[in-house]
Amino acid sequence: MVEQIGFGVIAAALLFSALRVVSAKNLVHAVLWLAVTLSTTAVLFVWLSAAFLAAIQILLYTGGVITLMLFGVMLTRRTEGVRIENEAAPKRSGPALVAAAALFGLLAAAVASTEDLPLEPSAPATIQQIGRSFLTEQVLAFEVLSLLLLAAMIGAIVVARRRDYESGPQARVEGEP
């Protein structure tokens, strides 16, 4: 009984905050509600005895991604003090709702019609197993992932850098006395 209540509270918090993320009129509020959703997900991971993943979730998502998102919002607004619009486009909101509801119906029917889903959890995975897996059987994927992160970092720097040199030497000479 206690378990059902606990799961219900976590699920309700997740769904409510996720709905606020997509319905918030102010983009900063949407990012902050996303932080609530991601933190509640970390709680759900602890609930599922995945403490390592909960720590990763807090460190990378709630710490890193939310900060990045807030930077993104702050850097792409036009003027000080103006509300940062995040409203759904009126003519797209209805069809999007229909599409999302249809997808939910389809996936929920697929889940409901699957018969041999386990009812009881089995032994939880330990951090030792996860760490050993990273450095033995999944080591190739692990290294490729580090290469991908490096490429993403360099790519982001190259893409977002201000290209002053493209205006040519003429533009730079003009400013000098």
């Binding site: 378990e3 799961f7 699920a11 997740l14 996720a18 993320v21 997509v22 983009l27 949407a30 996303l34 991601l38 997900t41 759900l44 991971f45 599922l48 005895s49 995945a50 993943l53 979730q57 990378l60 998502y61 890193g64 991604v65 990045l68 998102m69 993104g72 850097l75 792409t76 940062i84 995040n86 759904a88 797209r92 909101s93 069809p95 999007a96 599409a99 999302a100 997808l103 939910f104 929920a108 699957t114 889903l117 386990p118 009812l119 009881e120 089995s122 995975a125 197993q129 996860i130 897996s133 990273f134 992932l145 991908l148 992160l149 993403a152 790519g155 982001a156 893409v159 977002a160 201000r162």
Partner: protein, 100 residues
């Protein structure tokens, strides 16, 4: 005990909320946020399967998904900032120059 299907339905609902956000929003940062919601729903799926099947591989894969999402956010925000610099807004409808 709570059956696995409850977790699957919860993550399905979160995923569909994310799909609605991606389809309906005009602001590029708002769309990126909704993509985050969808990736998060996928992670819940992986972790709950890992718990109920007694395998650690679901959690290993969830770590990969998290790292990939972070890389995606980094590149996505760099592109959004580039878009803002050239157009002074980040509305995805407005950036349709290649169509005309």
């Amino acid at each position: 005990m709570i059956p696995l299907s409850h977790y699957l339905l919860l993550s399905t609902a979160l995923f569909c909320i994310g799909v609605y956000g991606v389809l309906s929003h005009r602001n590029a940062v708002g769309i990126l946020i909704s993509v985050e919601l969808m990736a998060n729903a996928v992670n819940i799926n992986l972790v709950s399967f890992s718990r109920y099947q007694g395998s650690y591989l679901g959690q290993v894969f969830a770590v990969f998904v998290i790292a990939l999402t972070v890389a995606e956010v980094i590149v996505g925000l760099a592109l959004v900032i580039l878009l803002y610099r050239s157009r002074k807004d980040v509305l995805v409808d407005a950036a349709s120059d290649l169509k005309h």
